[in-house]
């Protein structure tokens, strides 16, 4: 918060500790998430593998099509990484964008021992190539499950400005575990879409407090949809990823059965709640209405106390 003046000599570790994950670009997130200098990109921007479809709409392309994929090291161990750039076309999935992640997941499946970190930052399907984007998401979901079945740990990190919406939310639901920060949002339908379909009385998309307590990181953590909550720094996400890598167990039918129980239980317990605050209160949170105001450390303590996680049941 009290951002010091940036010194050119500021170390990598200092930058990771002070750089907002939410604000950083996809490339900066990777640079500071992975061990210093360890990132190697696959099909980098100099290959100019841009979307073949945007020109139909007279729209500008980006050399990496809005996703950076490659490998690096996390505390010395190799990981595969994919980071979406939420500012380019809202981080949405198009043909090339999606295919890069699919290729990465397929390699991980073959190798089995290298985990995959997905830094989500997406509004979902890219409208201008909707069919290709939708299908890419379906293929990614399949590839995630095949990789997990082969023993790969697939971890989603969610704290970008575009959140994790649409098909991105479904992919997140397929991951072994998720880490989320307060600004991170996970949902299928966006706020404006709900407002358009249901009316402003049901959902006022400009009421951002409502948007965040319905879809935001704190709610997802308290629901057990995300396993770890972190402060909004790249270092926080790095630590969260390391923690999750140590916790994840292999995937199998028992996980799916447990997830069925977990979700059915959620419906039974909270299905009649009108608002997130009601859910938190029902979970036993005292002063539930104050949850959005809690600083990260206090919230983490509270969430750990509630103790809802999903990594054994997803």
């Amino acid at each position: 918060m009290t951002a010091p003046i940036k010194h050119t000599a500021q170390s990598w570790a200092e930058r990771a500790g002070t750089t907002s994950f939410n604000e950083a670009s996809a490339r900066t997130r990777l640079e500071l998430l992975l061990d210093a200098g360890s990132f190697v990109e696959f099909i980098g921007p100099e290959q100019r593998e841009v979307s073949p479809h945007l020109r139909i709409f007279d729209l500008p392309e980006q050399f990496d099509d809005g996703i950076v994929v490659g490998r690096g090291r996390l505390n010395g161990s190799t990981v595969f990484v994919a980071a979406q750039e939420g500012r380019f076309m809202g981080g949405a999935f198009g043909e090339v964008h999606g295919a890069k992640l699919i290729g990465l997941l397929r390699a991980a499946r073959q190798i089995k021992s290298i985990p995959v970190l997905i830094l989500f930052d997406t509004g979902g399907v890219r409208l201008q190539e909707a069919n290709a984007g939708e299908l890419a998401i379906a293929e990614i979901m399949r590839a995630v499950m095949e990789a997990r079945t082969a023993g790969v740990k697939v971890i989603g990190l969610i704290g970008g400005r575009s959140g994790c919406y649409g098909g991105g939310g479904l992919i997140a639901g397929c991951c072994s575990a998720l880490a989320v920060s307060e600004p991170g949002r996970i949902a299928v339908s966006g706020p404006e879409v709900i407002e358009t379909n249901r009316g402003v009385e049901e959902f006022d998309s400009r009421d951002r407090a409502l948007v965040w307590r319905t879809m935001g990181g704190k709610h997802r953590r308290l629901l057990g949809a995300a396993d770890v909550f972190t402060d909004d720094t790249v270092e926080g996400f790095r630590d969260a990823a390391l923690e999750l890598l140590g916790l994840i167990e292999p995937f199998g039918l028992d996980r799916l059965k447990a997830e069925q129980v977990r979700l059915a239980d959620r419906l039974r317990s909270f299905g009649a709640c009108a608002d997130a605050v009601d859910i938190w209160a029902a979970e036993g949170v005292a002063h539930a209405e104050m949850v959005p105001e809690l600083p990260a450390d206090q919230f983490i303590a509270l969430a750990n106390n509630i103790g809802r996680t999903s990594r054994d049941a997803r």
């Binding site: 918060m1 010091p4 003046i5 002070t18 907002s20 009421d207 951002r208 407090a209 935001g216 704190k218």
Partner: protein, 561 residues
């Protein structure tokens, strides 16, 4: 004979010189039939309007910069136009759609106002279409002044937080224009009608005494207030940060500006957020930016918390800042109840006479330095900027920045006879939204004046009042320009890649730079690549909440948690 004539004349005077008082009493009598004491039910508000207001009346509908008497504007709009028509609206802010609907429906006909931000496009269309008979567009102080000379309201429709049963009003932190409007109306035989959020046994403090208030209407919902002065730090760009660094190092520091007013743009928000970081590094704490005429900008919280700011007087309040202000009464003006007391008229006066600098952004600047926020299709009015951004010719007290600026402008005069100068700084990026250039050969305001047959083009700040222009290209000090050509080249010299900028005489600009009239980032020891968002003391609204110790409660539309 003479004696008796005089006595006769005196008798006539007694009966004919209180016409207005009689008329007011008749209006109050008509309205009282709908009231219990002074209290009128909300459902009777329109009937109250019809009872009290006469065709052709001058009506002040509050209509401020921030708070809106929205229940009363709705009630007036619903009035039977057979009873209420052809009103002359005198109000500082034309803000709600209803304010213009009044003209569409024939309730109102003539308009004198100051500011129309949210309605700027529609008001332009209605003026072109002849729907509104325009008196003039004013500055705030100017319109307030005319309330006491030739635009005194017959009826004032005002907004307050609460009233007691006698009609004492508590206006809350957003007092704004109310005391001025009530003063002009109540003491010149007008009728004052207040909408209040609640009726209480005892108001927290008396902002308007009961004997100036004739009717009180309780509203179902609180009056509308727009958070106009909240700038999300997340939206501040590197370019704005660079420009802010140039302003701090190139103007605040050398002049030692302690008493000042900031505009509402992102560039000045960037300055506010750089004071505790960049300003601290430059060793400026306590030496600049200590006293403000300023609304409670959330972006100033880090500077306040870091001990930069000593005192702030405010035109209005800002949504979400109430608790913070209450807890920081050393800084703000607060009442015995603890909440902010704002007052637009006094704060405008303070900005005009007691501040050494105004710094704010604008939409267009021409080659003479005239600036305007009017575009071909939008008339936003003036608000207060022209009062802030003008040299006060009536000022007589010296101060270091004022004298230094005076010396730069006029080195020849003998010091005891030399006027000081207020620093009037225009700050902005050379291109605005959608690549629209800040610098133009001819202001759109001139074209607009042609189209509307106005005698004056709506100039926000006249070129001869502007002392500095700051862009990402550097600082132009117009005080040091000795003729119109130099002035033009100084402006072109910081106009970047706009047509105006590309049309500069490179040699002339280089000479101005040698003389320090233009100072580039490198002349000030600033590397543009250092302009980074990590320099901001707060990078998000959430950071501001943290700085405030949880006292700042931002409105929902600014949250991402």
């Amino acid at each position: 004979m003479l004696m008796s004539m005089n006595a006769d004349a005196r008798n006539r005077m007694v009966t004919t010189w209180q016409h207005q008082r009689d008329a007011r009493d008749a209006r109050i009598e008509a309205g009282s039939r709908l009231a219990h004491g002074k209290i009128v039910e909300a459902r009777d508000a329109t009937r109250l309007m019809e009872a009290v207001i006469r065709p052709g009346d001058r009506v002040c509908l509050e209509g401020d910069n921030q708070k809106q008497a929205d229940l009363l504007s709705g009630a007036l709009l619903a009035a039977d136009t057979a009873k209420v028509h052809d009103l002359h609206m005198v109000q500082s802010g034309v803000v709600l759609p209803e304010h213009l609907d009044l003209f569409d429906h024939g309730v109102a006909k003539r308009l004198d106002y100051a500011y129309s931000g949210p309605q700027s496009a529609r008001i332009a269309r209605m003026l072109f279409g002849g729907k509104i008979e325009l008196g003039a567009v004013h500055t705030y102080l100017e319109l307030f002044a005319r309330y006491f000379i030739d635009l005194t309201p017959h009826v004032a429709l005002i907004a307050a937080v609460s009233a007691d049963r006698e009609g004492n009003l508590y206006t809350g932190p957003n007092t704004e224009d109310t005391p001025t409007v009530v003063e002009a109306t109540a003491f010149k035989d007008g009728v004052v009608i207040a909408q209040v959020n609640e009726i209480v046994d005892k108001v927290p403090r008396v902002d308007i005494p009961a004997d100036r208030v004739h009717f009180v209407v309780k509203s179902e919902k609180p009056f509308f207030v727009e958070p106009l002065f909240t700038r999300d730090p997340a939206a501040i760009t590197e370019g704005q940060i660079l420009t802010a660094m140039l302003a701090i190092k190139g103007i605040y520091a050398p002049y030692g500006v302690r008493r000042l007013n900031h505009g509402i743009g992102f560039s000045t928000a960037a300055i506010e957020l750089l004071l505790p970081t960049y300003g601290e590094k430059l060793g400026l704490k306590g030496k600049v930016a200590t006293h403000f005429a300023l609304n409670p900008h959330p972006a100033l919280i880090p500077a306040i918390e870091s001990g930069w700011v000593q005192q702030i007087h405010s035109f209005g309040s800002e949504v979400g800042m109430d608790d913070y202000i209450r807890a920081r009464s050393d800084i703000y003006f607060t009442g015995p109840d603890g909440s902010l007391r704002s007052n637009r008229a006094f704060c405008q006066t303070a900005g005009l006479y007691a501040c050494d600098m105004f710094i704010g952004s604008t939409l267009q600047i021409d080659l003479q330095g005239n600036s305007s926020t009017v575009t071909a299709s939008r008339i936003a009015g003036f608000g207060g900027a022209p009062n802030m951004g003008a040299d006060a010719r009536g000022r007589r007290h010296p101060s270091e920045p004022w004298l230094k600026a005076g010396l730069e402008a006029d080195p020849e005069s003998p010091p005891p006879l030399r006027r000081g100068r207020k620093l009037v700084v225009q700050i902005g990026e050379t291109f605005g939204d959608k690549n629209v250039p800040l610098f133009v050969e001819k202001l759109d305001a001139i074209e607009l004046a042609d189209k509307l047959n106005l005698e004056l083009a709506p100039i926000m700040i006249y070129g001869d009042d502007v002392t500095h222009i700051v862009t990402e290209e550097g600082v132009a000090n117009l005080l040091l320009c000795r003729n119109a050509d130099e002035r033009e080249q100084a402006i072109r010299g910081v106009a970047g890649y706009t047509c105006v900028g590309r049309g500069r005489d490179r040699n002339a600009v280089e000479q101005l730079r040698q003389r320090g009239v233009i100072r580039r980032p490198e002349d000030l020891g600033i590397n543009p690549l250092d302009a980074d968002r990590s320099m901001l003391a707060a990078r998000s609204i959430k950071d501001l909440v943290r700085w405030s110790g949880g006292l700042y409660a931002p409105p929902s539309k600014f949250r991402n948690w």
